[in-house]
Subunit: 326 residues, 2 copies
């Protein structure tokens, strides 16, 4: 992400608070158990976009100001996100994440399952260091919805008749619920009005949906070099995403049969085999359009807060979400 202009602006707007949240995270992710400590150390190398802490701090800044609780909450949401990534990598049998060996490939699946649990339980412990149960309750609720979304995704694996509606329900749970939570907690702990809390939550939700759609497009079209992830895994796992759902619902029956045939026997050539069908269809344009409209919705939500550098960055993140190639 070096050289992305929005990051320089983030640095200026919430740089020191983001560093403090990083420090909370680093302090928390220590263990006297040498085995746990090794894994914790390794997992810091997955250091990613830090999207969720950023969202939480930026929505806080945009809707009233960053307080001490926000830094703790930013560390909590990142820890939860990390827990879901660790478990996702087990589910996907992924070997690398951000160019680094996953916990399951470096250690084993058992360790990954338990390490994910370790991060989940630790995040709740950290959340309960705040004064009231409010954050715990919201975080418990949202993470529970995330799990429900991921379970639905597993259930629908191999379902080549997945509807757009079902797809949106799944990504709303597995991705957008957590980004919505960031917006909610950011505004709520900044003492914003209930209307602003709702708007920031909706900002997070629309952004999360747009982000996930873009992620799904990358899994079909992206470059492994740029993203640092194993790609094509949605195809391998027979998870239908928006471009494919659109493709299947718009091609002539003959092609639909051919595509279903390809999808039923996924291998490393599947992405390539699908290319000609995608090239003849509007699937990617349509998908881009849907993502764009969610990104627009996210930006509309920002109209409820005064124009500040933080609001400007939130708008840029929404724009970036649908343009990124990594």
């Amino acid at each position: 992400m070096q050289g992305v202009p929005v990051l320089t602006a983030v640095e200026q707007a919430i740089g020191s608070e983001l560093l403090e949240a990083e420090q909370v995270l680093a302090d928390e992710l220590q263990s006297e158990n040498p085995y746990v400590s090794d894994i914790l150390q390794h997992s810091t190398r997955f250091r990613g976009k830090r999207l969720r802490p950023m969202l939480l701090l930026l929505t806080a800044k945009a809707s009233g100001g960053i307080r001490n609780d926000h830094k703790i909450l930013a560390a909590v949401v990142e820890m939860i996100h990390l827990a879901t990534l660790v478990h996702d990598d087990v589910l996907d049998e992924a070997e690398t994440r951000r160019h680094v060996a996953t916990v399951n490939s470096r250690w084993n699946n058992e360790t990954s399952v338990l390490f994910g649990d370790y991060l989940f339980t630790h995040s709740f412990h950290l959340a309960s260091s705040l004064d009231t149960t409010y954050a715990c309750r919201r975080i418990g609720w949202s993470t529970n919805i995330v799990c429900g979304g991921e379970l639905s995704q597993i259930k629908e694996r191999g379902n080549l008749d997945l509807t757009e509606e079902a797809y949106f329900r799944i990504i709303d749970g597995k991705t957008a619920e957590l980004t919505a939570l960031c917006g909610h907690l950011g505004a709520r702990y900044a003492q914003a009005s209930p209307e602003v809390v709702v708007a920031m939550e909706q900002y997070g939700r629309s952004l999360g949906l747009a982000f996930q759609i873009a992620d799904d497009v990358l899994d079909l079209m992206g470059s492994e070099g740029k993203t640092g992830k194993s790609l094509g895994s949605d195809l391998t796992k027979q998870k239908l995403t928006l471009p494919l759902i659109r493709l299947l619902s718009t091609v002539p029956e003959k092609e639909s049969i051919e595509i279903r045939q390809i999808l039923s026997h996924p291998d490393e050539t599947t992405r390539r085999q699908l290319s000609p069908y995608f090239e003849r269809s509007d699937a990617f344009e349509y998908t881009q359009e849907r993502a764009k409209s969610l990104s627009d919705d996210a930006r509309r939500q920002l109209e409820l807060v005064p124009m500040t550098p933080a609001r400007k960055i939130l708008a840029e993140i929404a724009e970036f979400a649908v343009q990124r190639s990594f």
Copy 2:
């Protein structure tokens, strides 16, 4: 467990509160998502001893009286226990639990991982319905220690030189921490004095250790018919438990080499191959002695609370823990 006299006494002492806690659990384990709902429904068939809710309610009753919060906390600890069981079954590749197909064998590993996460996050959400963050903080902390204990266990798999000390550290984390938590929360939410809270926590810890040792003995010696579990899994996974640690540290070198040879290539005959060595050694007597002394310690902790039917049952549970064959 039908016909166990202690259960009739439990019925009389905390029957209605246990039912209310069951009801909280049943009400919480509902989902509008039909897939999740199916798994939740299936998992109710793992209905086990309900040891942890019982402990929490009995220590509450023995140290001041059961309040409404206790019923919620009892449901919370059972949900956490269920979450760890679901993940344990993935790690152990177990096919049955309490005579019922495990989630991983009925569905798949991915579903089990996510369903365990679902239960963890749900339990935290439920815990945060109490007035203060106290229970959340303790529960987050203890469950985090449970995960650390399980991770250490995985690390030590295949280590045929595991010491008694390391074994006790592992079971203290993976089992005794949660039963200690039950004692702690039971007494604390009954407004007991700090001394009684400490004693009830220690009761739970010693009981948990004794219980785990007995469980480990059963895995080596028990009958699959009686326990309703796949047995011998510690050997298959090369997890050294107390009887084996004792055996290895007391046999002559020649036998030690033979035993290590057997343990290095585990298969379905391993339990039988080890029998003659165990018969010639004091390993089971020694193990029984250690468990007995922990059970005695648990009972000694009860001297701080007045003699009541609840205290009497807690003493009987401690006695039962080291005598059970299922």
